[in-house]
Structure formats: structure tokens, C-alpha cells
Symmetry: D2
Subunit: 343 residues, 4 copies
């Protein structure tokens, strides 16, 4: 089987990473590459690392240019996916890397994103219980945000097993600057970023907060509340999330470790590191992996889970390809690196 | 008044930063510079940035080489300060940048550092209520650790005003690599560090944890418990701490802001940023300042305080010079930059 | 004497660095701070590191707002200095950090910058033979470009002593991203810059090329020709220039070293490092210093000189303050750090 | 065909990169992994990014542990390859990533490396004219140094076509810190490296100098002389080389471009970028590619060629796998990425 694949928003970071992965996919033929303002330029002007595709010319993003493909990846600004998807019809599989179809709760959408809520699609996190099955054969997929993926995977086993108080979850996540997108902004200037760490979106106002809670809530009886703070660090890629919560009475480190081992034993991309080894983002760079480690702080009674991933790979484009593999009935791991690029 | 000052451990990072600041101090004459294994080499071999002092030869660290100075700064490995200090006598002011005399609780010392507890000296954080007075004229000062300084200053006003539950404090602090000292270690290799964030000392095992609690406990009636996680980020200097805690019933953001404004209104080095502006470590680089900002997350009921400082300046050597100024009866702010080096 | 000083273009990188230095100057009172598009905002929104000045509001850049000061620093885009300077009159000392008045040769100006050549002012590199005298009491100064400063100082002693063939000078200079200015551009995005080195302005087209030649030509009888290539490296500040040229017959390393020692023996900011120690930009960060080292490659017969400086300090704002000190009859070194901020 | 492959020196950077590539090679089965002092530990302790191999235990490097494989990669310190190779016998293909067998000239070896010269093996740069044929079926290969690869490929077409004066070649190459190896050294400490550029091995004393000349000399009648200066930049991987030389009378940019286009038209890994686009190391990160661009500086009469590669991939381990593919009669491009990991 060869899938004919189009990428809308090919000049951005998610688009570039999609093409890096797709260019090695044995069952994929890369079709139309489209852009907004960058239409008419070559891919190589925006992504010189995509050497073999560098001469490809970017077309205008429209239903017309995207039609006629088996799979269409959308890597567009918020609010642009719904109209395109509708025009493409049901026999095209649409995988949206944006936020438009992630949230079930329309009120939360309106509060955090503003504008009209487009609806929700099958959520592209196969590691959620029961979710993999919903993605097989799906013709619409909403790829999760990078922070929700790492935060959810860090907390889910403990929440699901009721080993922690899910009403008091705290996540501080350090992210590289590619997570902010490719558009030039004053605070993303290299000279501002290098040598500096900074906080933003503090106090529960980051858009990914309701998505994390949406992922965890179905898997516990108790209330779910996440205090989420993102921190910008001087690196191009990578997220390191430190998640913690009070453990429930009597919880031991052995129990905690056991539920994580069990939850991820058969997951191809999620690795609980050997005891004593803590995650570092570099080890996941360019790979579709998540590295995890945990501790139980006896003094404070909090479980602390640290998780690392590459925001562009497992955090966005790798997850999207993983979903495409599932949707198309292929081996879920095709074209998805297990080995990071380090040092 | 001219103070004759010696620096023991001059070839390390704390020693280098002390000399950077002292070299501009109008009341200081720089005397003996000593080292352990680096004795006999020139200062410039270790600190080429200390241009005017580059030709100075490092002597052996001993009571003999350090005697005859008004002020002796100790920037030595743990456990070496007590013996030196004893030999120097009471008419020499000794300011210890190491951990030996920071903790009051001998049991906590033994648990976190091992070996015999040397005792405790006046704690060099003038911003603690009542502490400035204890430092004026002191002849022994224990300079705080960098993480405790930023964590304490981030949390103290809220804890003191009982606006948060001090039993549920959570701090995640992102630090540059100079905080780990100058000794070459595999995990500090430039190629390992650049492009990567990593966690270490997770689960309440970092040595700075009891020091933070020691600073906060006297200022509240309730129990104090801090979950502290340090994260290593790819930058040479700087710490960005994200501290949070559940607010007590009815606490408003206005109340929170008011107690921080009040607490730091007269502090020369602590700045609560204008609303909407969040700290970035770069803005404090090389300065003796702490930048703070806070939010109240209505959804989770947690106060979130973000604080930035330079671990080598206000985090170590700047604090040490601030304490020297107080101990010697000088203007507390002499030779201490208020302006960071950015970008 | 207190000089009342204004800074036009205060929200940019050169403006910020000027204010960092001027804020510690004992003879300076900081007056009007002006900007173009950023007028009306506070300085702290653009330069949070300038803590004590953060609340100052930026005025519109105009002759009216700048009038009434003893010294006016211009840190404006190319082409805007002439009109302002003319309106300010001769009793105001104008120090231009831009390129408008650097080149003597109008044709070169038109070729490299385009537009009308405004003329030339006393060139603000006091280390050029005879130049210091021209700057004392000057009421107009053109501050050199950062690349010309480091390149000129690296090559001048050898060229002047005819120890190298000045027709075959080659300079490759690695620069941090602040040199490109603060305006956000796609290639300066943090994610593009970090982890990457790139070349630009290759093949003699960089605007600083004629300025380097202009500096060297008066000091040799032979023709002067410089092949100059700038390279962008992932750091916020700093330039490391590698300059080389074939030595003339019989030149020895001892001769080379001697002419550099002699040339810079009395210069307060130029340091020839001890033999065997090579410059690193970090050692000059935030300082007004230049670090130099040299070698004679016996196999190829080329002298190789490596020089480091901070592009914003000795490369721009530090040089400007140095010139102000000379122009105002003050000690040339006032408010100019000799010690870098490292690590 | 499945090749059973061993890697000696698996805990170092070259070893890690070999395993990253080999883990995706369809014709390779990874056999023994050996180390020196790290024998007995798991691969994951040294290379957490090699997730699927993390549990493998490192054996002692010896002929006994390496015997019984089809291919043995040596990634050992200088001077250790000869003895091992001899014991392995001729029916094992040995690919040496070290320097022991690169130089033909024994005197140059002794001068630059010291000790006894072990001899020379077929040189693993298939892009040299006639070299690919020598590598097909070879049972011994000496993989080039990273600097010689990028410098040679940058200069060869111009030298070969006599468009430049090969006696006056100048190369300044900016490199990431992984090129210095994994052993912790004071100057490679993250805090020393970040935010800093520095020169080393200046004046023709870098060991790679004779190797570059050895590569170029056979392809021109004239004398070959290279002034080579390496610069350390704050990035983990990547080399950007700026190579220049005076052009011979009458040489045009069109001629220059034509010889590069022709030389590399059929090379799978060497890309001459479109006019106006200059190489950046990030675009080659993790890929086996070299990106090139060139200019002719009319003012100075110098051709300037800029080339980028990843020192660990095409600079070392990628080249080694490329040579293995040739030696084993496989498709030369197997398991070698054409797409870099950017941003």
C-alpha cells in the first residue's frame, strides 16, 4: 500500500517535522505541500534540512490543492482546520496537528481559545486506555498538544490507580523555543532566549490546561485539577515536565513504580527508565519516545514524576504519524525513530 | 576605610565571582588568593575574564596564608571551613560561601551532608525579617545556598501572611550549570548540557531542601513542608524558580500582591515586576537582584510565584559581598550591580 | 562635573547597553530616553535587566526631546543620524553608534549602504595611532562597527610594522546574534539559532569590509585588502575573529609578539594574553576589553591573530562611552568594566 | 545478507552515533559492544538516547570479544587500533574511526601524533576521485577526521580545476564540542562552553592539518598548503568551515560554480545549495550530508567556500557506515539519513 500524503502548513515547524518523518516512511508518497503566505517559495528556503525535498514548491493551502490525497496533515493556525476538513470529505483521512478539535468541552474551548468551537475528533493519544482502538481506521484525528501529551503520560498511571490526590496535581514543564512556533516574535529572538529561562502563561491561563484535565478525568472517580506552569528554556526542542501530587495514605514507591511499569509495558514509545536514571530531553531529541522516572518524597508525601519528550516529534509530528499509521491500518511504529539524536 | 580581603578557593566559580565584584569595591584591597590543587598557577589560567588580576599567583589555602586580612571569604568544598575558621581567630571576619554553617539542625546536617556538623553561623540572607540586624558587625557569616535564597524569597511573604498552606509548598527550580561547580563531570560536558534539560536530586533528596524549610518555619505557626525539584537547563548562569501552594480560603490576588509589595518595598535588591511581566533569568545576569512575579490560579486555588536570580551573584558571591558590607558597617549595596548583563 | 546625557534608540540593544554602562557612571545624569515605534512604553518592557530605570517612559526621538543635554548618544537605524545631529547644534556632543558617519569614502558608502553619504566624523577608535588626540574634546564621534574594531585591532600592529602582506588579509569572525539587532527576523528565531552556526555576507559584501580597510590603509605603504567573512554562532554576545596573513620574508614570532606588546602596552582595554592562552569571548562578556593572541604558522608562512570582544560593549556601547569620556575630558576608563562576566 | 557488527569504544560519542545509525540498518545485526573503563556498565548509562539498546552490557575491548563478527568498528583512543586489528585477521572487515591509519606520511604522523606510525589503510572518503572504487570490498578502512572531510570537500573541486592557488588555502572551521570527545575536561564544562567561542590549535599545529593536505595534494600539480584554524562554538554538534583561496587569473564565479556542480552532481550526500542560500550546521544535524555554497570576492580576488556537516555523522560515524556499505557491497546510502533534525 502506498499512501498519498499532503501536508498543509509545510513551512512551519510541525510541517517540517512531519516531512522529516514522512520522507523515510516506506508506505508514503509525499504529495502536495501547501502554505499560507509562503506559497510560491521552495520548501528548502524554509527547511534547508529537508535536503531531498528542498526544491519542492509550496502551493496555496486550499481544499483544491489538498484534494486527491489519502491522508492530509493540517499544521495550520488555530481556527483554520474546520473549513478545510469539511471540504475534503470523509474518504480523505485528516490529521489535525492544531488545537481546533482537541477539546470536548465547548465552554472550555471558548474560554481558552475564543471564537466558535469547531467540535471534537478522536484524540490522537493512543496510550490513553481504550484510545488506540478508536484511532484504528479513523478518518479524523486531533493530535494532542505537546504539553498535554507529556503531562498526561506522566500522571495517568498514578491517577488511574488512585495512588495520588488528583485534585492537587502540579506540573512545571520546561520547553524549548520551537514549541512557540516559527513566527518571529521579540521574546523568541535568539539573543533573548539564549542564556535565559523565563516563565509564561502562569496561573492556569495556558491553553493546554483544560486538555490535560480532559485526558485524566475519565480515569478517576475523584475531581481532577492541574496547576500547570510552562517555562521557556534555551534549547530548540524538548520538554521536561516535573509533575507531582500528594500520594494517598499508605502509597509506597513500589506500588507507584508497579503501576507505571504495568501501564507502559506494551507501549512501543514510552520508557520507564531504570531506577536512579532521570530523564533528559536530549535523549528523546528527534525520537518518538517519552522517557519517565519517578520518586516518592517521604518528607512531603508527594509523588514526583519527571517526563521528557521532543515537542516536535512525540509532542506533535511523530504523534501525528503514529495516528496515521493506526488510521491506515499500518504498523503503528513505521517511520518513527526510537533512538534520539544525542549528544 | 580599606578592608584587606582574602579569597580561599579563588579558582572556582564562587571565587571568581567574588573577585569580579570585589575588584570594583571602593573600600576593598584584594589580598591573598588561595586554592587547593590549583595553588601555584595564575588566576588568569582559571579566570581569564578577571583581566586586571590575571597575573596573580594562587597560594595554598591555609590559615597562614589567610591570616592578616580583615575579611576572609571561604569558597571551599563542604567540610573544610570549620578548621580554617577556628585558626583565623575572632578578629578576622569569615564569610563562608559553603554549606558548613548554614543549618541549625544537626540531624538534618548529618542526613543531607553526612559527617560531623560544624555548627551554625549568622545566616547571610538580610532579607529575612530581623536578619539584617544580626549581620551588622557579625564576624562569622554563612552565605545561603542559591536555591534556598530564591525559594525563600519567592515564598516568604505569602507564608508569613498565612495566605498559603505552608505544608504544601512545591518548588521546581531551573538552574544553569555553573551551580554544579567547576569540577569537570561527565553530565556537565558541554555537549551533554547544550540542547538538553534534565532533572536531578528529585524526591526531596536535594541538600537545599532543609535549608528552605529552616528559613520559612520561624515565620509561620503552621507546619512547613517543601517539595523541591531542581532542573538543569542549558545556560551557564541563572535560576528560575516556580513556587506554588494552595491559598487559604478567601485569599485574593490583591492580598497576595500587597504582601509582596510590602515585604520588599525597602529591599534594595528585590524587585516585584510590574503586573503582566514575568521574570527571566537573563535580566538578573551578573546582578545582585531577584525578580519576582505572582499569580493566583482561580481554577486550582494555588498561588504561583516565579522568581529569578543569578546563582553566582545574589545566589552566592553577591550575597557574600552584601554580608561583608553589613558586617563591616558599610553601605549594604557597595559594589553590587543592580543592572544585569542582557541580552 | 555632571553630564546630562540622552540616549536616542534606547529600546534597542545598543541603547540598552549604553544605559547599563551609563547607569554606573559617576559623572553622568541620565536624561531623555527616546525611541521610534516604542515611544510611550516603559524602558523595562524592553530591557527588564535595567532594573533601576525600568519605570522610565520612552519619548519620541526628535531634536526637541534630545535638546538640552550635554551628550546625546544616537543608536538609530542607518540614515537617521544626520538630520538629528544637525538640529542639535555644535554645543551638544553627539556620539553616533550607527554607520552614517564612519566612512570617509563616499563611493564606498554608496556601494555598501546605498543612499546619500552624510559625511564623516572623528572615528571613535582611540587605539588607532593618533586617534585618541582627535577624540579629546570632539563634539561629534562616529563609533566604529563591532567587526571593524576587532578586525582592526587584531591586524594593525602587524600591518603597521610591515610584518605581513597587507594585500592578503583574511578575517573570519564568529559573532553572537545580538550583533544583528533586536528586530525579530526568521533567521534570528531562537530555535533557528541555537545549536547552529551559519555564514552570511560572504564574498566581500558585508558592510564592515571597507571600514576595516579604511582603518588599516593609513598605516602601511602597501595596498590593503581584506577578505572578511562573518559567521553567526549560537551565543547572545561576543565576537571571536581569526585574522591571518602571509608574513613577510624573515618575520619571526618574536618580532610579531614584540610589535603587539609594544602597540598595546599602554592601552587600558587591550590585552595580549600570556603565551599559550587563547582568547574566548566569554572572558570579555560585558567588559570593554579586547583579548588577543597570535601564532606564526611555520608551515604556511602565515601569521594568525585571534581576537575576542563583546560586540555590545567594546564593540559598540563601551566604545561610545570611552569616546564620551575622551570628548568630555574625563578619565577615559570611567564606567567601563575591565572584568568580564564569566562563566 | 545480515552482517554481524561489533563496536569497540561503544560508550564514546563516535560509538554512540555508530549505534544510532546501525540500529536502523536493515542488513545489520548488532553484536558485541565493548569499552575500556566503562566495561561492565550498560549502554544506557552512557547513551540514554539509544533506547532499544539501553540494557546491553558493555564488554571489555579485546580481540576475543570482537572476534566472530563480519564488521568491527573501532572507536578507540589513538594508538590502540593496530594491535586489535592485527589479531582480528583479514576476514573481518575493520573500520577505524580513529587517526591511526589515516596518514600515509610516517614523518607527519610522528610530528603530529607522536609514537610509532602504524601504517595506512584505504581512506574512507568515497567522494575523493577514484576512492570509492578502492573502498568497495576493502577489509580495512581508515575513516577521515571530521575537519579534513569538510575542508577537503570544500576545497577539492576548485583545487582540482586549478581555479585557486592551492599554496594559499585558508580554512577557519567552527565546531561543536562533541568533536572534542566525551572525556570531561575543564574547558569543555557546559558553563565554560555556553555563550562562548574560543580558538585552539592555532598556527598549523592541529593534527588534522596534514590530513587535509594529503587529500588535496594528489589532485593538483602545484604545492598545497593549508592554514587551518579550529574554533569551538557553543553547540553540541556541527562544523561550519569557511575556506578561501586566491583565484587564479581570470577565474569567474560561473566557472567556480560549474566545477562544484560537476564534482558533486552524482554524490548522494553532497549538496551545493541554491544560489543565495548559505549553509547552516543545523540543516545537517544527524544527517550524513554536506551542504556547500561559494562566492567570489571580486575586491580581494579570493574564492570563499562555506561547508557544513555534522561532525559525528558525515564527520565520523556516518562516513564509517558509508564505508561499511561500500566494503560489504551494499547500497552506499543504507541507514544514512539525508534529512537533518532541525530546528
Amino acid at each position: 500500500m502506498t499512501l498519498r500524503v499532503a501536508v498543509a502548513g509545510a513551512s512551519g515547524y510541525a510541517g517540517g517535522e512531519l516531512l522529516r518523518l514522512l520522507s523515510t516512511h516506506p508506505e508514503v508518497e509525499i504529495g502536495a505541500l501547501t502554505a499560507g503566505g509562503n506559497a510560491g517559495s521552495t520548501l528548502g528556503q524554509h527547511h534547508p534540512h529537508l535536503t531531498p525535498l528542498a526544491g519542492r514548491v509550496l502551493e496555496e493551502t486550499s481544499a483544491a490543492t489538498l484534494a486527491g490525497h489519502d491522508i492530509v496533515f493540517l499544521a495550520l493556525p488555530h481556527g483554520q482546520s474546520a473549513e478545510i476538513a469539511e471540504q475534503l470529505g470523509d474518504n480523505v483521512t485528516v490529521i489535525d496537528c492544531g488545537a481546533d478539535f482537541r477539546l470536548v468541552d465547548s465552554e472550555a474551548w471558548v474560554e481558552f481559545y475564543g471564537g466558535k468551537h469547531a467540535g471534537h475528533w478522536p484524540y490522537g493519544l493512543p496510550e490513553l486506555p481504550g484510545q488506540r482502538e478508536k484511532l484504528r481506521g479513523a478518518n479524523r484525528v486531533a493530535v494532542p498538544g505537546c504539553y498535554p501529551t507529556v503531562s498526561t503520560l506522566a500522571l495517568l498511571p498514578a491517577v488511574q490507580a488512585s495512588l495520588v490526590d488528583s485534585a492537587q496535581l502540579v506540573v512545571v514543564a520546561v520547553s524549548g523555543t520551537s514549541g512557540a512556533g516559527k513566527g518571529p516574535k521579540p521574546n523568541l529572538h535568539g539573543a533573548e532566549v539564549m542564556g535565559s529561562a523565563s516563565a509564561y502563561g502562569v496561573g492556569g491561563v495556558h491553553r493546554h490546561t483544560p486538555e490535560i484535565e480532559q485526558n485524566l478525568a475519565p480515569h478517576t472517580d475523584g475531581p481532577v485539577s492541574v496547576s500547570f506552569t510552562p517555562v521557556l528554556a534555551p534549547m530548540a526542542r524538548g520538554i521536561l515536565a516535573t509533575a507531582s501530587a500528594p500520594v494517598t495514605e499508605g502509597t509506597t514507591i513500589e506500588q507507584l513504580r508497579a503501576v507505571y511499569e504495568q501501564a507502559y509495558a506494551d507501549e512501543p514509545f514510552i520508557y520507564l527508565l531504570p531506577e536512579g536514571q532521570w530523564p533528559q530531553t536530549q535523549a528523546t531529541l528527534g525520537a518518538n519516545t517519552v522517557h519517565l522516572q519517578l520518586a516518592l518524597d517521604q518528607r512531603t508525601g508527594r509523588a514526583v514524576v519527571v517526563a521528557a519528550l521532543d515537542n516536535l516529534t512525540k509532542g506533535t509530528a511523530g504523534a501525528a504519524v503514529q495516528c496515521m499509521n493506526l488510521a491506515a491500518g499500518l504498523d503503528e511504529t513505521l517511520a518513527l525513530p526510537l533512538v534520539g539524536v544525542a549528544p
